[in-house]
């Protein structure tokens, strides 16, 4: 996709002559573009900076609706814990703004740009919510969906609609914000989003269990995380790195030890953090050597986990993101990895497995999905070449009634199938 200066040319060609791209800089222009596309039944690939272009099923949609012009913060009211911004506002810009007031997006948005082979810092608020992403704090604070209060959008019908509002407590009408979150732009083009923000923690510490040298400690790691999460110490991150992944950590203490580590994060005011750290050390000392990372090292460590830094290198490997009941994490991962070259990083107390596997024609989809189905969960193919993501279902395939519901929702919001068609499921 290229953007050129002549996008504002008053002598714009007619839609019929349109080559590739439409650029919309406000809601009215989005509306015009979608109406126009709907009347001609022309499919649109909706994107801003394209930082997540590699997420989801690979599609070949000729025309791009470039919404990167929809940026800008409408309002940010720290005392009300609310921010409203255009869909293409950079996540980094929002985070900087919040940091000035010691606030944050509590669901810890990951920056998956590098993991997907692109640049860091390109993600937008709209893309973040459309993919319903969340980082390690998901276990305590929820995902993007849980912080998404309201929006304005243009549906595939070529109509502007809004839902939700700017307050947390709101049960007025169906919760369409939930429907938009994670819909990958297949139902509507969001133009403005309103999200809940929260205070950033004053202190961050990480209790680190270093397991003995050599050996597989995935089960032990999950057990330790389960103990920590079941404690009253308000753990806000629980991750396990096998030794091979830990040694690539940017935190030298973790990288140099050559051992598997399990990490538990506590956040809050200083006295609280100190108290909970001590309590966790006592609880978990039985598993291995215990160390503590303070704010700076903690921040670096959890950024690595959040952005799956360990799998950025070696872009040839395929990446799966698997969500299972937390206690099943290590069992599922080790079964999938049995006799198969690859690695597993555990987040969400074992409830999220990042798998890096050697390339295979079916991306090992059958084996991954078979083991996930046995315990209940969801597996998404996060990184693979486009031809693989066109062939192998990226999301857990739906069937029967759920597939019908998906189809009917799509038809209700985008009857001509012009918005990101095929991005989630074939024909949706």
């Amino acid at each position: 996709m290229s953007t050129t200066d002549n996008c504002h040319s008053p002598n714009s060609p007619d839609f019929d002559d349109m080559t590739d791209n439409l650029k919309a800089e406000n809601e009215q222009q989005v509306l015009d573009a979608v109406k126009s596309a709907a009347s001609d039944k022309i499919a649109l690939d909706v994107r801003a900076n394209g930082s997540k272009a590699g997420l989801g099923r690979a599609t070949d949609i000729g025309h791009v609706l470039d919404v990167s012009g929809l940026g800008g913060v409408n309002f940010y009211e720290p005392a009300e814990l609310v921010l409203s911004a255009g869909a293409a506002t950079g996540v980094a810009e929002v985070e900087d703004l919040l940091a000035d007031k010691s606030q944050q997006l509590a669901f810890e948005p990951p920056d998956l740009g590098p993991l997907l082979g692109g640049e860091a810092g390109q993600g937008t608020l709209g893309g973040l919510v459309a993919c319903n992403l969340a980082g390690p704090r998901r276990v305590k604070a929820g995902a993007a969906r849980d912080h998404f209060l309201g929006f304005s959008a243009v549906s595939g019908r070529g109509e502007v609609f809004k839902s939700g509002g700017r307050v947390v407590k709101n049960v007025t009408g169906f919760d369409l914000s939930k429907l938009m979150a994670g819909s990958y732009g297949t139902l509507a083009v969001m133009t403005e989003l309103t999200i809940k923000v929260l205070p950033a923690p004053e202190k961050i510490r990480t209790v680190l269990i270093s397991w003995a040298k050599d050996g597989i400690y995935d089960h032990g790691g999950v057990k330790a995380m389960t103990d920590a999460m079941a404690s009253p110490h308000e753990v806000s991150g629980a991750a396990h790195m096998p030794a091979g992944i830990a040694e690539r950590s940017s935190v030298s203490y973790v990288g140099d030890s050559g051992r598997a580590v399990t990490a538990l994060r506590v956040e809050g005011p200083e006295p609280s953090v100190a108290h909970r750290c001590e309590a966790l050390k006592n609880l978990l000392g039985k598993y291995g050597d215990i160390e503590e990372l303070h704010t700076q090292n903690s921040t670096a460590f959890w950024c690595d986990v959040r952005d799956v830094q360990c799998f950025v290198e070696n872009q040839d490997r395929y990446i799966w993101r698997v969500s299972v009941p937390p206690t099943e994490g290590s069992r599922v991962a080790l079964k999938i990895l049995e006799g198969r070259p690859g690695e597993a990083l555990y987040d969400w107390s074992g409830g999220l497995i990042w798998l890096a596997l050697a390339p295979a024609p079916d991306a090992c989809a059958n084996i991954v999905r078979q083991h996930v189905a046995a315990v209940g969960g969801h597996a998404m193919l996060m990184r693979a070449p486009a031809d693989v993501r066109a062939r192998v279902p990226v999301f857990e395939p739906q069937n029967g009634t759920m597939a019908d519901i998906t189809q009917r929702i799509k038809e209700g919001f985008d009857p001509h199938g012009i918005l990101n068609p095929g991005r989630m499921y074939e024909g949706v």
Binding site: S12, F15, K169, G173, F174, A230, G376, Q398, G412
Partner: protein
Amino acid sequence: MLMPKPDSDVIARREEIIAAMRSIVPGEGVIIDDDELRAYDCDGLMAYRQLPMIVVLPKTTQQVSDVLKYCHDNDVKIVPRGAGTGLSGGALPLADAITLGLGKFNKILETDFENRCVVTQPGVTNLALTQEVEHAGFYYAPDPSSQIACSIGGNVAENSGGVHCLKYGLTTNNVLGAEIVLMNGDIVRIGGKHLDAGGYDVLGVITGSEGLLGVITEVTVRILQKPETAKAVLLGFDSNQKGGDCVAAIIADGIIPGGMEMMDTFAIQAAEEFVHAGYPQDVTALLIVELDGPAPEVEHLIGRVETIARQQNARYVKVSESEDERQKFWSGRKAAFPAVGRLSPDYLCMDGTIPRGQLAYVLTRMEELSEKYGLRVANVFHAGDGNLHPLILFDANVPGELDNAEKFGADILRLCVEVGGVLTGEHGVGIEKRDLMGEMFTEDDMKHQQRLKCAFDPGHLLNPGKVYPILHRCAELGKMHVHNGQLPFPELPRF
């Protein structure tokens, strides 16, 4: 309140429908006598009553499925019902509909402490969930004031809140999975013990859908460790503005209290007279701020809240010194509704949410409205999340007063929307706020919501007459204007 006109054809088929229901739900699960039907003639919004055509109380998911399939095939409407404690009339029966009660789904199916979740049938009460897990130090966080009686299925249908929403979220943030029966009888399972489900967030839209999309037959909720300790501080201010400013200052300082409740003069006095909670009587606004968590955190934050409150000119500051005293602080707030109710034959409880910073303005405007309508109003306010509960006092025996009170209530909700808030924070739209939906949503907004309805229940058989003032036929909603001839759009840059 105008409800859809009963379908006389369906009522004429009542005997035949009863026979069909009895073949699906044997025994005493089909209720047809007026005396017994009367127990189901309203929910918590008792100003509106209607005898259901039939009440059916299934025991299994298969029975629910069979009932819905029969009704789908025979064009019979269904009103789902949990414990009937809802405050917006969402479970108000219809004369030509079956009320489908889920009360017999009263078993907790699985408690999984390691994965920190509980799988339960929908008829289990909110409080029973907490009771089931508290021996292991856990609890279920959302705590609507009716938690002793309300069912978890109803909580999901209404996306119920409570006093701890700012810190712990609403129902929607605490539900992991569900089994749902659609109107055509199909049974679907969504989510589970894992966090990410993929696909459209059907669980997210079912939550808070007020029984319009499907019937919930199983729920998986997440449970949390109970905070180690909790302490409350009672703060008095000589104006609502100062109370509101203090709330903002606490949040701006980075503190998210477990609960933060505000009461106005009328509510303070009524509560104090009723339960003697020890509230100061010479303040205009009273704030209860509760901090929960590890003891060192609570001590630390209570100190900071105290400092902030003094900076914000609190004229009364009292920290709870014991668990008894903390409970006493809450006793007045928790008794506020009955305390106000004692002063009046009837009252209406409203439920708007506003941006917190608008509190003083909204209360001033509400006083003006109170004078205009000649009706008293008391205010209790979930100050942390901006959810306002004005209680409008009236006497239903005085002709015209109910009507007047409802008009007053509608004006209050319009005011909430005007300042950037919403019609309902936790009670739901139901029938109560149905006709006000247009205050908040455009026609296109509501049509998009109804397109979701069409994906689940195109025949509009589930809970009709609730939430939306006009139900457009799905065929009509499906039509699309074609804009040929209007092209090109001159405003649109192309390249």
